[in-house]
């Protein structure tokens, strides 16, 4: 081969050979995007990746305080591309009728050996597009906020490098066209969370929280990778197109291996529970607020935790065939939602309240994802409701965390609500935007959270009519309603405790706390607008549901109806929760304290987070460590001793013969005589 090319040394031939050589070693280089569609699709992840590389190479020495620019620029490009995809490219592909394939930008073969064929491609369909538009736009706003919030930090460049990498990983996860690619970026998301939660690594608590997040996530990931292997051996492929989007294959597999699909779903679910912080793997999420507040906003709203919900929603066709797994999804979701809401009631740390509210809202999404157990036709409706709540939640939870960050910024990094109050006059922007976010979270009618929560309640109500599992879903419905009430209460408890009451500042805040500077204020305002109107725009017109219905594998629904009675009920619940919070924290400020004294036990249970961390420590971590210690002791004192014993065997065995070799001539003479005598005796015996 080389001979035919010859030894030409023109620059062009050198370049060609270099290029050929490079593409040979690194296949990704071979696929430069050509068409507009592909370019748009590629830019969504490529821009943040480029930013991450640029910042990590140039940041510490060259960019320094300007390190946010590549990140901003890249996320702006990603957001723009995601919006083009949302409004232009995807609708065209719907009309083209080729929605089963989606829009694909060809990548490169990552691994191909035997039956393991994994490509890294970019594949977008309706669901991933909706998800991407939320992820990129929220990330962009959070990154703008971060530039103000992180100003002057030692690791400024490191922050934005990891931030960009985070968005890249999330975009690639959502754009995956097969399970293995999804897993790859699923893990990278985990890495980024590790880097960002542990951003202030000097703090032991941050270092511990980062490790906890990674390891707890890995527990779920173990299930996920086994689920992926089982999909691989069952379907012979990992592509969504061959696993999820062809009903014949699915039904064949279901009949050929009864129970197999249920196993797959449970394994996938394990992964989803880890990433999306479902009970009992939720323990990492509240600790994750050890990272800088914008990171919490990113993790809780846009990236990380949404991945689990996305995985389950994406695998709807599989879950639709596994009613048992779906019942479990809903059950886990309900348990998580309720427990987390109960914990959030008593937390004194503003960010911790928000963290548990995230866990609780994710529980809501899981509740919705499981309603397919009450009839396969509900599976799509459930997934739609779950994805919609994910979508709206992304905006208002990012808003709430950023507003909390703004409070923290003004209060000199104090976040304990007992140390400040009445901030509404000194921090007006923060106050109004937080109010918007809290109202959206509480489900005040017509705001973002109201619509999506209402849809979840509606599908649960619908599932309650099923003859076999109806009772179960009715119970879940009531749990959901109760949780919605608790949500409204704790959201406004935090709001009233922070912004109402007498004006108090902690000493760390100085005399005149400053409200958010422009870089922080504008993201807050924009997110507040989104929290107010995104639900109205997307739900009142059924735009979201109609758009999502183009996702392959999500069978088209018949009717999009409003349930006025349910809407009124959930509106009443929200208002009642807010009113109770107002009564307890504004009208009768002493009431909360006396109530907590009265129900000391219950209060402690909630305040101590149902002792989950302690339980994990006592039931899992400590026994494992003890067992590990035991293993090591056995290693040193048993196994190694056996080896030494085997090694010593020749020496021991030599002891006996050594007794004979005394070195004394008289002994040898004695032995010689003994030998001669024995021989003579033997001879005599022969003769005799």
């Amino acid at each position: 081969m080389t001979a035919s090319i010859g030894r030409l040394t023109t620059p062009a031939s050198i370049f060609n050979r270099l290029h050929a050589w490079l593409t040979d070693l690194a296949p990704p280089l071979a696929c430069m995007p050509l068409e507009f569609q592909q370019l748009v699709l590629w830019l969504i992840p490529a821009a943040p990746l480029a930013a991450a590389v640029v910042i990590s190479l140039l940041g510490p020495k060259l960019l320094r305080e300007r390190s946010h620019w590549p990140c901003w620029l890249a996320l702006a490009v990603s957001t723009a591309c995601a919006l083009v995809l949302l409004t232009n490219i995807m609708p065209q592909s719907f009309e083209g009728g080729d929605s089963a394939t989606g829009v694909v930008a060809v990548g490169y073969p990552w691994i191909s050996i035997g039956e393991m064929q994994v490509r890294i491609d970019l594949r977008a369909d309706a669901m991933s597009t909706l998800m991407l538009s939320m992820v990129t736009s929220v990330s962009l706003l959070v990154s703008v906020f971060s530039a103000g919030y992180m100003h002057g930090d030692r690791g400024y460049a490191r922050f934005f490098a990891a931030f960009s990498l985070f968005v890249f990983s999330m975009a690639m996860l959502v754009l995956s066209g097969n399970y293995m690619q999804l897993f790859i970026f699923w893990e990278l998301v985990g890495l980024c969370s590790y880097l960002l939660i542990g951003f202030w690594f000097q703090k032991p608590s941050a270092a511990a929280a980062a490790k906890k997040a990674f390891v707890v996530n890995r527990i779920g990931d173990m299930g996920l990778i086994l689920g992926i292997f089982l999909i691989w051996t069952t379907f012979g492929s990992l592509d969504f197109a061959s696993v999820l989007f062809s009903p014949e294959t699915l039904s064949q597999a279901a009949t050929a291996h009864p129970g197999r699909i249920t196993t797959i779903c449970f394994l996938l679910l394990a992964g989803a529970m880890g990433k999306s912080a479902q009970f009992p793997l939720h323990v990492w999420l509240p600790d994750a607020m050890e990272g800088p507040t914008p990171v919490s906003a990113l993790i809780h709203a846009a990236t990380m935790v949404t991945a689990g919900v996305y995985l389950v929603a994406r695998s709807t066709p599989l879950f639709a065939l596994a009613p048992d797994a779906q019942l479990f999804v809903t059950g886990i979701g309900a348990a998580t939602a309720l427990l987390a809401a109960l914990i959030a009631l008593t937390q004194m740390d503003l960010k911790r309240v928000l963290a548990y509210s995230t866990v609780s809202q994710l529980g809501f999404m899981f509740m919705a994802l499981g309603v397919g157990a009450a009839g396969a036709e509900l599976a799509t409706a459930g997934a739609t409701a779950g994805m919609f709540h994910l979508f709206t939640h992304g905006f208002f939870k990012a808003l709430l965390f950023l507003a909390a960050g703004s409070v923290m910024h003004a209060m000199g990094d104090v976040i304990d609500m007992r140390h400040f109050s009445g901030l509404r006059r000194s921090l007006p922007i923060t106050h109004w935007t937080f109010l918007c976010g809290a109202a959206a979270l509480a489900g005040v009618p017509l705001l973002a959270g109201f619509w999506s929560k209402d849809e979840i309640l509606a599908v649960l109500h619908e599932a309650g009519r099923h003859e076999r599992v109806g009772g179960f879903f009715t119970a879940i419905y009531w749990i959901a309603a109760a949780t919605a009430f608790l949500t409204a209460f704790y959201a406004f408890r935090a709001y009233f405790m922070t912004f109402w009451g007498p004006q108090r500042f902690p000493p760390e805040a100085g005399h005149h706390p400053h409200d958010a500077p422009p870089a922080m204020a504008w993201p807050l305002r924009l997110l507040a607008v989104a929290a107010l109107f995104v639900g109205l725009a997307a739900a009142a017109t059924h735009w979201f549901a109609r758009y999502l219905a183009h996702t392959p594998g999500m069978a088209h629904e018949g009717e999009h109806a409003f349930h006025i009675d349910l809407m009124v009920a959930s509106g009443v619940i929200a208002v009642a929760g807010i009113a109770l919070a107002w009564f307890m924290y504004v009208r009768r400020p002493g009431l909360a304290a006396s109530l907590s004294q009265a129900g000391r036990r219950l209060y402690d249970l909630s305040y101590r987070k149902f002792y989950f961390d302690e339980l994990f420590l006592a039931a899992l971590v400590l026994p494992l460590r003890a067992f590990a210690w035991l293993c090591y002791m056995a290693d040193v004192h048993v196994i190694d001793r056996l080896v030494d014993a085997a090694g010593a065997a020749p020496r021991v065995a030599s002891r006996l013969p050594r007794l004979l070799h005394t070195g004394l001539v008289s002994n040898y003479a004695l032995m010689m005589w003994a030998g001669v005598l024995a021989y003579l005796g033997f001879l005599l015996g022969l003769i005799g």
């Binding site: 081969m1 040979d24 070693l25 690194a26 296949p27 990704p28 490169y108 990552w110 691994i111 191909s112 050996i113 035997g114 039956e115 393991m116 293995m180 790859i184 970026f185 893990e187 990278l188 890495l191 590790y194 880097l195 542990g198 690594f201 000097q202 032991p204 270092a207 980062a210 490790k211 990674f214 390891v215 890995r218 173990m222 990778i225 086994l226 292997f229 089982l230 691989w232 051996t233 069952t234 379907f235 012979g236 492929s237 592509d239 197109a241 294959t249 064949q252 597999a253 050929a256 291996h257 494992l624 067992f627 590990a628 210690w629 090591y632 290693d635 196994i639 190694d640 080896v643 090694g647």
Partner: protein
């Protein structure tokens, strides 16, 4: 190409010999420059060899892989030279020959060896202060031995090189090691030697019975493999020979419970010794399984090998990880992590399908890179602080940010983070085993959690948190402790590049080893030959669909 291969064998040997001439001379500081030049020359040659081999294999691949008659071992480049002819005119002569060759696996391992040797020379630059020429001579002679093992396609040569590697490493540990170096070196030497002697018995049986059957050059591994494919030993004999061969390899890998020499040897060895020991020497065990057991004893691999490797591999993963978790000495932690990682390798090799064996080979390479790099970094901060104990150190990231970044990077590779090199190997090994026995793979997958746990715990206490430096280290040097130097970067960066490259696009590497792997796994896919049912191996193909073009 073959001349390049001989140069590869000769250059380090010659450089080593040159260094020995200098031994004891006063201008011994120049020894390291000679060693560096020699090892870089070897690296350059090995890379060129790799490049040429890739070109060759692209054109070779089709023609050879389809040849059904070809042996399960197919070096694509060969050098054969008859050496001794035994047996008179009456009986059929038995020819002993030099048989060197290259296939994808050996090329990959040779490049790995060359890469790690350069890193070893650089990392020893300052830390080795006494008898330098002898040190570097031992290092380079060890390199020759290792390259020799990987290119020997002759049972005799293979065994000679296999054993020969023990000698330079023995000296490396016994002369330049830590306080317990004598004990560690003797234990390492005797333990592995004892195992290898049993292996020799197995090897002699294999060669002898083929010779008795009429094979003309029974020492040549390709011929031997072809012979045993057509005339397999009886299953019970296969089992005996397998166990004999395995005795040495299991100790070398090392597989639980034959691993106890390893932590000791690692802790006592100088950094360079640890890097080569973990990076390449341990792979001789798995390489032996791949070269001798898998192609020649299929029935025994299926009946004994799979359960043995799966159980011991899983136990090794869990046990090694747990032992690593409680270590206070970072170097010992890395040593135990090797036991866990090679457990994955065993799971992969004995999955006996293309995915698994490929994964096992990748894991051999990847573990060499990531564990080698881990030992390098451990050596770096040991050089600065003279302690490796977790309790003495803390928050090093404050003082040594670049080193901390490197450590996080390498740890992530070791944890098996996708995008870095560890993942493709671990994933394919587990996938292969999942196809054969899902439960073993499920048990092995727990290594994903445990691996993250012990490595991140180490990172948490040694590199994160508030800065804690031992007083001793700070006072020993008058100047403050410096972050990673250019020389140290030089040893790490090439490895880091390889880590990233394999992680991002493992396919070129897989393509290189694929023909060799498939030549072996064909034995197991074909069915009755190995005495097993096809159904057991193949997955449910019922719904297999064509991969997307």
């Amino acid at each position: 190409m073959i001349s390049l291969l001989f140069l590869l064998l000769l250059v380090p040997l010659a450089a080593g010999g040159l260094l020995l001439l200098f031994a004891g001379a006063s201008q011994a500081r120049s020894a390291r420059w000679i060693a560096l030049a020699g090892s870089i020359a070897v690296l350059a040659m090995s890379l060129s060899l790799g490049g040429q081999y890739r070109q060759l294999s692209l054109s070779f691949d089709r023609g050879r892989a389809d040849a059904a008659a070809a042996s399960p071992i197919r070096p694509q480049v060969e050098y054969r030279k008859p050496w001794l002819t035994l047996g008179g005119a009456a009986e059929q002569p038995v020819i002993l020959e030099f048989h060197f060759g290259l296939d994808g696996v050996s090329v990959a391992m040779i490049v790995l060896t060359a890469l790690l040797t350069v890193a070893c020379v650089l990392i020893s630059w300052e830390s080795i202060r006494e008898r330098e020429s002898e040190f570097y001579a031992a290092l380079l002679i060890l390199e020759t031995g290792l390259i020799g093992v990987f290119c020997a396609f002759d049972a005799l040569l293979f065994y000679v090189f296999f054993e020969f590697t023990l000698i330079p490493l023995f000296f490396l540990i016994a002369i330049w090691g830590g306080p317990q170096r004598r004990y560690a070196a003797v234990k390492f030497f005797l333990y592995t030697l004892a195992g290898s002697l049993v292996t020799l018995l197995g090897l002699v049986t294999l060669v002898g019975s083929a010779a008795a059957g009429g094979l003309e050059s029974p020492c040549s591994l390709p011929q031997l493999a072809a012979w045993y494919r057509d005339n397999p030993l009886s299953p019970s004999w296969q089992m005996v020979v397998f166990l004999a061969l395995a005795a040495g390899f299991l100790i070398k890998v090392p597989v639980f419970p034959f691993h106890t020499w390893l932590p000791l040897a690692h802790v006592e060895a100088p950094t360079a010794g640890s890097v080569l020991l973990a990076g390449v020497l341990l792979k001789l065990g798995t390489y032996g399984f791949l070269r001798l057991c898998l192609p020649m004893l299929p029935a025994a691999c299926l009946s004994v090998g799979v359960p043995m490797a799966a159980v011991l591999g899983v136990v090794g993963i869990v046990y090694g990880s747990l032992c690593a978790l409680v270590q206070r000495d970072v170097k010992k932690l890395v040593a135990y992590s090797s036991v866990a990682h090679l457990g994955f390798c065993m799971l992969g090799l004995f999955a006996l399908n293309s995915e698994g064996v490929t994964g096992g080979v990748l894991q051999m390479i990847n573990h060499g890179l990531s564990t080698g790099a881990l030992f390098l970094i451990v050596g770096m901060f040991y050089e600065r602080y003279h302690t490796r104990l977790v309790d003495d150190l803390g928050g090093l990231a404050n003082r040594l940010p670049l080193m901390a970044a490197g450590m996080v990077f390498v740890s992530m590779a070791s944890v098996g983070l996708p995008g870095l090199n560890g993942f493709p190997g671990e994933m394919l090994s587990l996938a292969g085993m999942f196809k054969r026995h899902p439960l073993y793979a499920a048990a092995g997958a727990s290594g994903l959690i445990l691996g993250a746990w012990y490595l991140l715990t180490m990172l948490q206490y040694v590199f994160f948190g508030p800065l804690k430096e031992p007083v001793h280290g700070a006072s020993a040097h008058s100047h403050p402790v410096r972050d990673i130097s250019l020389r140290e970067l030089g040893s790490l960066v090439p490895i880091a590049v390889a880590i990233l490259w394999i992680g991002l696009t493992p396919q070129p590497l897989i393509d290189m080893i694929r023909p060799d792997v498939e030549a072996i796994t064909q034995l197991y896919a074909r069915g009755p030959d190995g005495g097993e049912s096809v159904a057991q191996v193949s997955p449910d193909r019922t719904f297999a669909t064509e991969p997307r073009p």
